[in-house]
């Protein structure tokens, strides 16, 4: 029994320390799709934006979560044509938003009709809510902010301000 308690204590101690370590790591907020002045494209995660450059992790969020340690890539503002930013969990947020919009639409119709056509409202729930979820997920996946830089320092500093 004592051994079991010691093992549990040791394991819990490790897990607590691991949690502490994870808390120090800052998760990148945005996914980025950068187009260079030559027209090439790089997809990754935005790590940092300085006055004249930005630093990108050249991998997916899945790679980041796995702890794949790729060298970060630095792009100077003069080499940036366009930046597309994508927020984290856009799909989930879109799904929630779409679903709630669909649900609220049904609720309002029920309230307005005073529950006269109950079977119709059930059908509506089956159709409208999933449609809202799917539509929201699609919108969430597509929603992104575009910044046209064209190697211009002013446009880049505008982008920097908006990020913060």
């Amino acid at each position: 029994m004592k051994v079991l308690i010691i093992i549990i204590l040791v394991i819990s101690g490790y897990s607590i320390s691991a949690q502490k370590d994870n808390s120090n790591i800052i998760k990148p907020r945005f996914g980025i799709e950068l187009t260079t002045m030559k027209g090439n494209m790089l997809k990754g995660l935005l790590l940092q934006v300085n006055d004249t450059s930005l630093i990108i992790y050249p991998g997916k969020r899945k790679d980041w979560n796995k702890g794949e340690a790729f060298y970060p890539v630095v792009f100077g503002s003069s080499n940036v044509m366009e930046i597309k930013l994508k927020k984290q969990n856009g799909i989930v947020k879109g799904m929630l938003l779409g679903g709630s919009v669909g649900l609220s639409a049904i609720l309002t119709t029920i309230l307005l009709n005073n529950a006269t056509a109950k079977s119709g409202s059930v059908n509506n729930v089956v159709i409208v809510v999933p449609a809202g979820i799917i539509g929201g997920a699609y919108m969430g996946s597509k929603s992104r902010k575009n910044f046209y830089i064209n190697g211009n320092e002013k446009a880049f500093s505008e982008f920097q301000k908006q990020i913060k």
């Binding site: 030559k38 494209m41 790089l42 050249p58 060298y71």
Partner: protein, 305 residues
């Protein structure tokens, strides 16, 4: 009655010849028993494919087709699915010893990795390129197969751009770089008993009917990332295979290669781009190439050592 001098000479000559014959047969028998390097004529064909940790459509399709084909060609074709070159050499040598045979055709099914900017093929985890193929310690397992190869052995590098000779254009921070597929082919040939080596300049497809002696190995991939001008040199050489003859120590005319049901590698009479419809298809694809379709992130995905 005593034999005359002439008869004696004849008898002696016959005895001498008999003795030589006897000695030769005994020597041959002894040689066969003691020395295993005597190569019998039986030839076996092998296709080597990587064992996957995660599901990957391309090797899965190849392995499935190869295994199905093997059901009808059990004597000639063997499918070797391994994690590294050591396991491959062990498996192949075991089969060859059992069957008392040598390698007829050897096909390496592998991915090509564009982002590494060099011609290569992989046997499971082991990557062979123009540099690593010269590392005697690294190629020790591959070298073990040399005893079962000769100038009549055909080796196929089944990875995309495995025999590419073009120079990749410079892109962003990366300078122009030659693929050096020809060096890889020459060194592989030397490693495997001066065998004939086939490798492709362009994409190697894994669609249905790979082992049906058709043009299934050549074709246009559909993924968006390939429709970028950085793949331009690859598109221009669609269905073009280089052939290095170790016997003659030179490169032959480029051909289009096909795999037959017994696993043998042969080339087609007409090249892939000799067909008008393929030419038209290719010109359409080249016109539709658009910068920005390829994600440069894969070029930067290098881990700190």
């Amino acid at each position: 009655m005593k034999p005359c001098f002439k008869q004696l000479v004849h008898i002696k000559a016959i005895c001498f010849l008999l003795a030589i014959l006897l000695f030769k047969t005994e020597a041959a028998v002894a040689f066969n028993l003691t020395d295993s390097t005597v190569k019998p004529l039986k030839r076996i064909n092998f296709v080597v494919s990587p064992k996957q940790k995660k599901f990957d459509q391309a090797p899965f399709s190849f392995q499935l087709q190869a295994k199905l084909t093997r059901l009808f060609h059990k004597d000639e074709l063997y499918v070797i699915i391994v994690r590294n070159s050591e396991a491959m050499a062990e498996k192949i040598i075991k089969i060859l010893k059992e069957k008392n045979a040598v390698i007829g055709h050897l096909w390496f099914d592998s991915h090509g990795h564009w982002q590494r900017r060099r011609s290569l093929f992989e046997i499971g985890e082991d990557e062979f390129n123009y540099m690593s193929i010269r590392d005697s310690a690294f190629t020790a397992n591959l070298k073990k197969l040399a005893a079962y190869c000769d100038t009549n052995t055909n080796v196929g590098i089944g990875s995309c751009y495995g025999g590419a000779t073009f120079t990749l254009p410079a892109i962003e921070n990366f300078p122009a770089q030659r693929m050096n597929g020809d060096s890889l082919m020459i060194d592989l040939s030397k490693l495997l008993g001066n065998a004939t080596v086939f490798a492709c300049e362009s994409f190697v497809m894994t669609g249905p009917g790979i082992l049906n002696a058709g043009y299934a190995l050549s074709g246009c991939p559909g993924r968006k990332k390939f429709k970028d001008p950085i793949y331009g040199p690859v598109w221009e050489k669609l269905g073009e295979w280089n052939c290095y003859s170790g016997k003659h120590e030179k490169f032959e005319e480029p051909v289009t290669v096909s795999l037959h049901q017994d696993g043998s590698i042969r080339f087609k009479e007409k090249n892939y781009l000799d067909f008008e419809k393929n030419k038209k298809k290719l010109s359409k694809k080249i016109l539709a190439l658009k910068r920005g379709n390829y994600n440069l992130a894969s070029l930067y995905q290098k881990k700190p050592v």
